[in-house]
């Protein structure tokens, strides 16, 4: 039915970008299932962008599932909630996916408990004012579940002078392998629509567009069947391409609006929210709950039972792998998608709010990658055609090779790069361009910090 509809051949999209192999077939049709509670949960105090949360529990304290265990450490920060009923073992330094250890609340779950959600209170969202909604969203501990983990309530309070007219709900999920947003759109469509309405009310917007890609048309059908014809919520599928899920690309694809460099989407009247976050918002706000679990796609050739799982926040990946059949042959664990995710060096790293995928790669896949030799840049310009931000990765790469990081930032817009990895993906010389840019950015950040320290 899809093949013979000419309108599908001319779907909108953004310019540039790449088409990596999707590999979503392993999990796209698998309904979301629950995983058991791990005996020990590790909750990082800073698993979101912004200030770390402040613990409000002490070692030895018993907590009930859904109970707040840490409060927000400022406006750009969120509280944490107990993902399971248990006892707080301590507040210790634990490894993160990024490497350095961070202070975390260790929760020992009660194996015999029913894990019933006793910590909730119904309320009428319709009668709440904007200010109350923003406070309530912060209290849920909701952050961008797409990966950036930016606190959602901050996005609901745009800077002075910015008027949001259109809300984009991001259901593109352009990363290969991942299918969490896809399943949420199908299985939690009611929550998603409820969440969209709350966001629309909080920002005073006129319409909502749920944007997805045309490899998820079943989700589009489900959502359309739930929406009346005159609804301000619209569902739109765009042409599948990576990295459509980036907010700037999505705005371009859906509305042909460009978000200027260094600006928030609200500067052009847009608000961009992830599908998972919006669905959780719709589910949590009416019951004043907190984010205690999230959907994670666990997939890859190294896993016996790939699928979409509802995982309590803080579950160590070792436990997930044990539950789903880890044959021990895996050589590389990636948190997030294969394009932008980062490989994990410890099995004790827990699932955080921003982690939507766990990819287990085996030796056979990796050996091709590892054997690749980096050749010199031949200035072919493939990366220029791939870069969705229209940067010049070729020139940036050459400068990075010579450690001219400041020049990259000043003259070649290094900070507009959001590390999607398209340039490295297409490079025929297999130059690790995006890695170079990450190094350059981290080096520049340190340099700026040193200069600030010197000035003060």
């Amino acid at each position: 039915m899809v093949l013979f509809n000419p309108s599908h051949w001319f779907r909108d999209t953004f310019s540039h970008g790449v088409h990596p192999e999707e590999n979503k077939r392993f999990t796209a049709r698998k309904p979301i299932q629950r995983l058991p509670f791990a005996p020990e949960l590790v909750l990082h105090l800073s698993q979101h962008a912004g200030a770390p949360s402040k613990p409000i529990v002490h070692p030895g304290q018993e907590v009930s599932r859904g109970e707040p265990i840490a409060e927000a450490g400022g406006f750009v920060s969120v509280p944490l909630h107990a993902p399971a009923t248990g006892i707080v073992k301590g507040i210790e330094l634990r490894p993160t996916a990024k490497g350095p250890r961070t202070s975390s609340i260790i929760l020992e779950t009660y194996p015999g408990d029913s894990q019933e959600l006793r910590y909730y209170e119904s309320r009428d969202v319709d009668s709440m004012t904007t200010k109350e909604i923003i406070q309530a969203v912060q209290d849920t501990g909701l952050v961008g579940l797409g990966g950036a983990a930016f606190p959602t309530h901050v996005k609901l309070a745009p800077p002075e002078g910015h008027k949001v007219h259109t809300i984009l709900i991001n259901g593109c999920e352009c990363e290969p392998f991942l299918t969490t947003d896809h399943r949420i759109m199908i299985e939690q469509a009611d929550d998603l629509i409820a969440g969209s309405k709350i966001v629309m009310k909080a920002l005073g917007a006129e319409r909502v567009i749920i944007g997805t890609e045309d490899n998820k048309l079943d989700a589009v059908e489900v959502l359309k069947s739930k929406l009346p014809a005159d609804s301000p919520i619209e569902v739109k599928a765009v042409k599948t391409k990576y990295p459509q899920g980036a907010e700037k690309m999505l705005a371009k694809a859906l509305l042909n609006i460009e978000i200027p460099s260094g600006n928030y989407p609200s500067s052009v009247g847009l608000g961009v929210f992830n599908v998972s976050s919006t669905a959780q918002l719709g589910a949590l706000l009416p019951v004043s709950g907190g984010v205690i679990e999230r959907v994670v796609t666990v997939t890859g050739p190294g896993i016996e039972k790939p699928g979409n799982y509802m995982v309590p926040i803080g579950t160590p990946i070792r436990f997930i792998l044990e539950q789903l059949g880890f044959n021990g042959n895996a050589q590389c664990l990636v948190m997030g998608g294969p394009m932008m995710g980062s490989s994990v060096s410890s099995l004790d790293v827990p699932i955080t709010k921003g982690c939507g995928g766990l990819l287990v790669l085996t030796e056979s896949i990796l050996s091709d990658q590892l054997d690749q030799i980096t050749y010199p840049c031949i200035s072919c310009g493939h990366c220029l055609e791939a870069c969705p931000m229209h940067l010049n990765p070729c020139q940036l790469g050459k400068l990075a090779y010579k450690h001219r990081y400041q020049e990259m930032e000043a003259d070649f817009h290094l900070n507009d790069c959001f590390e999607c990895g398209c340039c490295s993906f297409v490079c025929p010389s297999s130059i690790p361009l995006v890695q170079y840019f990450r190094i350059a950015k981290s080096s520049n950040r340190e340099q700026a910090m040193r200069e600030r320290a010197k000035a003060s």
């Binding site: 210790e92 330094l93 490894p95 993160t96 996916a97 990024k98 490497g99 350095p100 250890r101 070792r318 980062s342 490989s343 994990v344 060096s345 410890s346 099995l347 004790d348 590892l370 690790p432 890695q435 990450r438 190094i439 981290s442 080096s443 340190e446 340099q447 040193r450």
Partner: protein
């Protein structure tokens, strides 16, 4: 006829412009101390920045202006500093030699790897990729960013993947301090002989499971040292160098891992109680177990 016209025009133009330049040279002349050039000639011209000036020329200006002492150039041999001081007729200054020191001793033979890192041979690249493969989150990754950054060949990587600073060549230019993504290097005066070669904040057994030479935070050194010299902060011994005069070899004696050392003549002495490490080959990669 044309030739004569052209020559006289160009010649006349030349004379006018030359006279403008001649006048400008007189009127706009900037008197510069000729000694600045002389001093710059005597400096090593490495532009390393160790003295705190942006380059050798700026340092020469500062010396002539009396803002800096010739001895603050740590790259010049001492005789040259004396020579410059004599030439300028200024104080030589008393600058103690500083060297870069690494706050880690966890080479491949003692520090456990929990994952294999394969990718760009750079510590900073490893740090942005899941923090590298080392079990200790604070430890030296051994990929040699500091070795590359050193313009004086003062850092060499040893067979255990740890950078070794050759003190005679080190000019304390700060390049390695900035290059290390884990902030393991710091510049220390050579008189700071007592040194904690560890930055791990992990608790005792946990630190020991990651690295055999980690500071376990047992506080024996703090107990043995004169009051206030060594304090324990977050499971790590911290030396207060303002009381460096009190430092002796005594605090290192009971350290069970040899994390606190006495540095003298380019050699690190461990205490008598330190566990002897005879292993030379790297430890196998071993994922976390608990």
């Amino acid at each position: 006829m044309y030739v004569v016209g052209a020559l006289s025009f160009m010649g006349g133009l030349g004379i006018i412009l030359a006279s403008v330049l001649a006048v400008a040279n007189r009127k706009l002349h900037v008197a510069e101390d000729p000694r600045i050039d002389e001093v710059e000639e005597m400096l090593p011209k490495t532009n390393c920045g160790a003295c705190g000036s942006p380059g050798c020329r700026a340092f020469a200006e500062a010396c002539v202006g009396g803002e800096k002492n010739p001895a603050q150039c740590t790259v010049s041999p001492p005789e040259m500093a004396v020579f410059i001081a004599d030439y300028l007729g200024v104080e030589l200054g008393n600058e103690e030699k500083k060297v870069a020191r690494l706050a880690c001793a966890g080479g491949k033979h003692v520090a456990r790897m929990r994952a294999a890192y394969s990718g760009m041979e750079s510590c900073r690249a490893a740090v942005v990729t899941g923090g590298g493969g080392k079990a200790c989150a604070w430890g030296c990754l051994g990929l040699g960013d500091c070795e590359v950054s050193c313009d004086f060949d003062a850092i060499v990587m040893d067979r255990q993947g740890l950078p070794v600073v050759i003190e005679d060549k080190c000019v304390a230019c700060n390049d390695c301090v900035e290059a290390c993504p884990l902030d393991l290097f710091s510049l220390q005066p050579v008189s700071h002989k007592l040194w904690v070669a560890c930055k791990s904040l992990a608790e005792g057994d946990e630190a020991l499971a990651d690295c055999e030479v980690a500071c376990t935070g047992c506080a024996r050194c703090a107990a043995d040292a004169p009051a206030g010299l060594i304090t324990m902060k977050n499971n790590l011994a911290v030396i207060d160098y303002s009381k460096n005069a009190l430092a002796t070899k005594l605090p290192i004696q009971r350290c069970p891992t040899g994390a606190i050392v006495w540095l003298e003549d380019g050699h690190a002495d461990k205490g008598a109680a330190a566990k002897k490490i005879i292993r030379k080959e790297p430890l196998p990669i071993q994922p976390d177990t608990n």
